[in-house]
């Protein structure tokens, strides 16, 4: 499977600011996904990002809060906007060749909002 990297690996941010997380894949992939993993909770899908189309957001997540870009088949960004302490979490990107199944994950970005 294609190797995924994320930047930054971790960050500590102030309330009200925004952070953009980058996800880079070392080969072209069709589907990319963004998840949130909060302590003691399961991975929650934020949105699906396919190249050439607007990201599809899951219930409870909106574009104004989590804008996503997918400019090509190897790269995506997730911005966490106007952050609050409740946004403290691990943010993960993943990819899949053909479907939602068999997803492969990046190492994650550990975000703390003060």
């Amino acid at each position: 499977s294609a190797v995924i990297s994320q930047k930054p690996s971790r960050d500590i941010c102030q309330r009200g600011t925004s952070l953009t997380i980058q996800c880079q894949v070392d080969s072209q992939v069709t589907m990319m996904f963004w998840y949130r993993q909060q302590p003691g909770q399961s991975l929650t899908l934020i949105a699906t990002a396919n190249q050439g189309s607007e990201a599809t957001y899951e219930s409870g997540f909106v574009i104004d809060k989590f804008p996503i870009s997918r400019p090509n088949l190897t790269f995506s960004t997730l911005t966490v906007s106007n952050m609050s302490p409740e946004d403290s979490s691990i943010y993960l990107c993943s990819h899949s060749a053909y479907s939602y199944n068999e997803q492969f994950f990046g190492p994650g970005t550990r975000l703390t909002v003060l």
Binding site: I4, L43, L92, N101, F104, G108
Partner: protein, 114 residues
């Protein structure tokens, strides 16, 4: 009620023991079943992928799916300290039915004691 239930543990077993990890689910539309392994401060790694009911074996790992009971299991034989990680189950329905996204369990934290 959550769609996928997984005992969070922690589970500690001695090296060499057989480990049994389980998930139950309520959505009868689920047809694809995955197990992911997540080491501390790393992203989830796809371990096993199973379609529909039955068993699948890969080295020391065996995945079982019982759709009639809505119950899936992961067995680890001859457990090693390197197996110490959090194990997440995930599942999805068939594509084109709108339920193909992955639904994750909360994960079971496993420690193998040397």
């Amino acid at each position: 009620q959550k769609e996928v239930e997984q005992d969070p543990g922690p589970l500690s077993v001695p090296e060499g023991a057989i480990v049994s990890l389980n998930c139950t689910y309520s959505n009868s539309a689920f047809q694809y079943f995955m197990w992911y392994r997540q080491y501390s401060r790393k992203g989830p790694e796809l371990l096993m992928y199973t379609y529909s009911s039955g068993n699948k074996e890969d080295g020391r790992f065996t995945a079982q799916v019982d759709k009639s009971s809505k119950y899936i299991s992961l067995f680890i034989r001859d457990s090693q300290p390197s197996d110490s990680a959090t194990y997440l189950c995930a599942m999805s329905g068939a594509s084109n039915f709108g339920n193909e996204k992955l639904t994750f369990g909360t994960g079971t934290r496993l420690t193998i004691i040397p």
